[in-house]
């Protein structure tokens, strides 16, 4: 990722943008933090938040007219937060604080002239910044509205503590200004004084408050809002600072007054709560409750709905930076690898984001970079890619015209996971398609999605090129795909092929004869690959209706469907998180799930929740489909290769059996515990058989004194497998299995 790309991604994520109230406040008081502290009755801390930003906080907190209320997001859900009342309550309740520490002296002198709030605030702001500032006035703050006794006096004392001088009782005249101009580096006169005496220097510029006289700044005319008068004082201080430094008076001042913010906060699920209504001052409970209505505005739209984004504790802007940093590491640990490999690439965040931030794009690109730079952790996707290689190997691939035909109008492409999970329904589906359409060829092959998801572009291109060859050799027929991911992948990588979903075909042709009937209410799970395919989703719903399913839509459905945890190979790279994602999805509905992606079906089934694939309804087999367990990794392989052999034998009268590898004839069985561990630890039956074959040659094994079990190991390629077993007739009963990637080189003497 280039730095410019990082900046673009960072800009898209609005989570760190300022809240509407802060942007709308002319002084940018952190009202969100203030309300959070007030809601916790931490009055003193809340006061510190105000005092950090407000000049003469005791005065201003009591005079603030709350312009933030017009922008408050709570406005639409009961009414804006009564920020002005909260400020006054806090001013009365909290312990006063000392004025801030001023910056070191600048050696520049400024005169401020006037009896109004702008003059006072300008004096405060400039004193804070280290100017030698003197306030010339008849009565300091003489034009302010009445305040509780002692409030103004205390802040005037603070003004002096900040280093400002106050000269009161001054007769303010135009001549006096000329003198002050001679004696100081800059002069600021507040709006009232300017209006009365100085109109010949022209109206002050709105942005800089500069006048036609260089070095003379003036407050706006006729302003009555206290907080806007104070903001003018701050603007004047900013201008004087720029003026005395000799830098541009105009650039980069967009954020000084109220401005627009891009922070998005959804009001979905926010209950309407009206403001606390009381006559006079709040009680402590009133203050707490009113502040407690604050929504603590943030975006988090994507994080709220994604277990993965939530798991890593931050939000996309931070993740983009972590991924950028991950790529920059030369020596040291790349801490974001696991985060990059855990994204489901499902596209939900992009759909929900007000600015279309796509973690999928960021993470997939990062994976590709990792593969190219040889920094992809080998263990992340190896198992899944081995499975893909098996699905695309001689034991599984099958490309044929329909029996007895030498051309195909259509080509049935069920995908490698449907054949792995539900081969009988695939066989029935193929028979149905031939019955209804005639010349339907068959292609058993993987679409390459695991290669794509793992960032291996070269492998993806190779896979698609093989696919293309098979398809072209069959005369380039129209492809009927039965897997939403295959459908999406084929559309993208085989753009010249006409690809339709099996469900669109069925919707047009009518249901097969022996479908399930009257299935009752079921919760529909749209797979992530159907997110941007409304027609596909509609076809499936129409078919479900025809077989008597009453479709219940979960909250997140259609375009906003949540991933099952398999997408992007999450369940391979981070099995624990994959399971958490599946459990969250599964638990969302009380009904049995129905879906049209077999990986969604198997991921949900693995959590113990009942789920069926639409094939279970269209081409039912003689089982309780909802309770059918997800086949394990080894069985998935066997299902694929047996399907190929069976179809070759039954439809084409060919013997598809391949030469049996020596290890395949070794008889192994597994205890129930070992079967679970095989899945958890991603060890295949064929791996175990290879271990035994090796042992039969080497005779090397350990024996347990405790239970007589044997233990042996073998490293076929890059993983060493350990198998604890007992002998059982001609074969072996496996009690335990484990593996590691580290290799034993030699025993040192």
């Amino acid at each position: 990722m280039e730095q410019a790309e990082l900046r673009q991604w960072e800009r898209k994520c609005v989570q760190e943008e300022v809240p509407q109230c802060v942007a709308a406040c002319p002084l940018h008081v952190d009202a969100r933090t203030f309300c959070s502290l007030m809601a916790q009755r931490r009055w003193d801390k809340a006061w510190q938040v105000l005092a950090k930003t407000l000049p003469l906080p005791g005065v201003l907190a009591r005079l603030c007219d709350g312009p933030c209320k017009a922008a408050c997001v709570r406005k639409e859900a009961g009414g804006s937060i009564e920020m002005d009342r909260l400020e006054r309550f806090c001013a009365e309740t909290a312990k006063p604080v000392a004025p801030p520490q001023p910056l070191p002296k600048r050696g520049k002198s400024v005169a401020v002239v006037g009896d109004g709030l702008t003059a006072l605030c300008a004096t405060w702001e400039m004193a804070r910044r280290g100017f030698d500032v003197t306030l010339h006035c008849s009565v300091p703050g003489g034009l302010l509205p009445a305040l509780p006794e002692g409030v103004l006096e205390r802040e005037l004392e603070n003004l002096v503590k900040l280093g400002a001088a106050i000269e009161d009782g001054v007769d303010l005249t135009v001549e006096a200004i000329d003198e002050l101009m001679d004696e100081n580096d800059a002069v600021f006169v507040d709006g009232e004084f300017w209006t009365a005496h100085l109109s010949e220097v022209g109206e002050p510029d709105a942005l800089t408050l500069g006048t036609q006289r260089v070095g003379l700044f003036a407050g706006p005319k006729g302003e009555t809002s206290a907080v806007l008068l104070a903001a003018a004082g701050r603007r004047a201080a900013n201008s004087v600072e720029r003026f005395t430094q000799g830098v541009s008076m105009v650039t980069g001042r967009e954020l000084e007054g109220p401005y627009e913010t891009r922070l998005y906060t959804s009001l979905a699920k926010v209950e309407s709560v009206p403001p606390v209504v009381v006559d006079g001052m709040y009680t402590e409970e009133n203050g707490r409750d009113e502040a407690g209505r604050c929504l603590q505005c943030e975006c988090m739209e994507c994080v709220k709905h994604c277990e993965y984004l939530k798991h890593y504790k931050f939000y996309p802007k931070v993740y983009a930076r972590q991924i950028y940093n991950n790529e920059s590491i030369v020596m040291g640990t790349r801490q974001a690898n696991s985060m990059i490999n855990s994204c489901m690439l499902c596209g939900l965040c992009e759909t929900l984001c007000p600015e279309d931030f796509s973690m999928a794009d960021v993470c997939l690109e990062a994976r590709r970079t990792m593969v190219e730079s040889d920094t992809m952790p080998p263990s992340a996707h190896e198992f899944a890619l081995r499975d893909m290689a098996f699905a695309n190997g001689e034991k599984c691939v099958l490309a044929r015209h329909a029996p007895g035909l030498d051309q195909s109008e259509y080509l049935f492409f069920p995908g490698c996971q449907l054949t792995a999970s539900n081969p009988d329904s695939v066989q029935a589906a193929y028979a149905d398609l031939r019955k209804q359409l005639g010349s339907v060829g068959l292609l058993l092959h993987c679409c390459g999605a695991p290669a794509e998801w793992s960032g291996r572009q070269a492998l993806m291109d190779e896979t698609v090129s093989d696919l293309r060859k098979e398809w072209e050799a069959l005369g380039g027929p129209k492809i009927i795909a039965a897997c939403p991911t295959c459908l999406k992948t084929l559309h993208e990588y085989l753009p010249d092929a006409e690809v339709v979903s099996h469900w669109a075909i069925l919707r047009a042709l009518g249901l097969p004869t022996d479908t399930a009937r009257d299935c009752g209410s079921m919760a529909i799970n749209d797979p992530c690959a159907a997110r941007h395919n409304a027609m596909l989703r509609e076809d499936v719903r129409a078919l479900l209706e025809q077989v008597g399913v009453i479709v219940e839509e979960p909250e997140m459905t259609g375009e906003t469907a949540q991933c099952c945890g398999y997408g992007g190979l999450l369940s391979e790279a981070n099995p624990e998180l994959g399971r958490a994602v599946a459990e969250r999805r599964a638990a969302e509905m009380a009904e049995d799930w129905v879906t049209y992606c077999v990986m969604c079906r198997d991921m949900i089934a693995k959590t113990g929740k009942r789920a069926v694939h639409i094939y279970d309804l269209l081409y039912p087999q003689d089982v309780d489909a909802g309770a059918r367990p997800s086949p394990g990794y080894s069985l998935r392989r066997e299902n694929r290769s047996h399907l190929r052999e069976r179809l070759l034998a039954e439809l084409w009268q060919e013997n598809g059996a391949l030469a049996v590898e020596p290890y395949e004839s070794i008889a192994v069985s597994f205890t129930a515990e070992a079967s679970v561990l095989m899945e958890e630890r991603r060890i295949l039956k064929s791996d175990v058989q290879k271990v035994f074959l090796n042992m039969q040659k080497s005779r090397r094994r350990f024996v347990s004194r405790e239970n007589g079990h044997f233990l042996t190991s073998f490293r076929p390629v890059v993983v060493t497998y350990w198998v604890e077993f007992s002998e059982q007739g001609e074969g072996y009963l496996v009690h335990n299995v484990w593996s590691h990637r580290m290799k034993v080189r030699e025993v040192l003497s």
Binding site: T333, N337, P378, V703, S704, H740, M742, V744
Partner: protein, 71 residues
């Protein structure tokens, strides 16, 4: 290179069935992704067969593998 000793490297009742020998701790050179470690592991003193116990493979060894993969 110093030899690392780990508590998980325990023979846990296994002995070499081939040689009928009790296992002894021996320094063993392990390799992953171009990194080498010398670790004391239960080994048959006669044939040199090395045992990697389950909790070592799935615990510390797995952690180190991941650490090296992220380097």
């Amino acid at each position: 290179m110093s030899v690392i000793k780990v508590p998980e490297a325990d023979a846990a009742g296994w002995k070499c069935a081939t040689c009928d020998e009790e296992l002894v701790s021996r320094p063993v050179e392990l390799e992953y992704l171009d990194s080498l470690f010398n670790v004391e592991l239960p080994t048959c003193p006669k044939c040199g067969m090395v045992l990697i116990p389950e909790n070592l493979a799935l615990g510390k060894m797995n952690q180190v593998e991941h650490l090296l993969e992220d380097k």
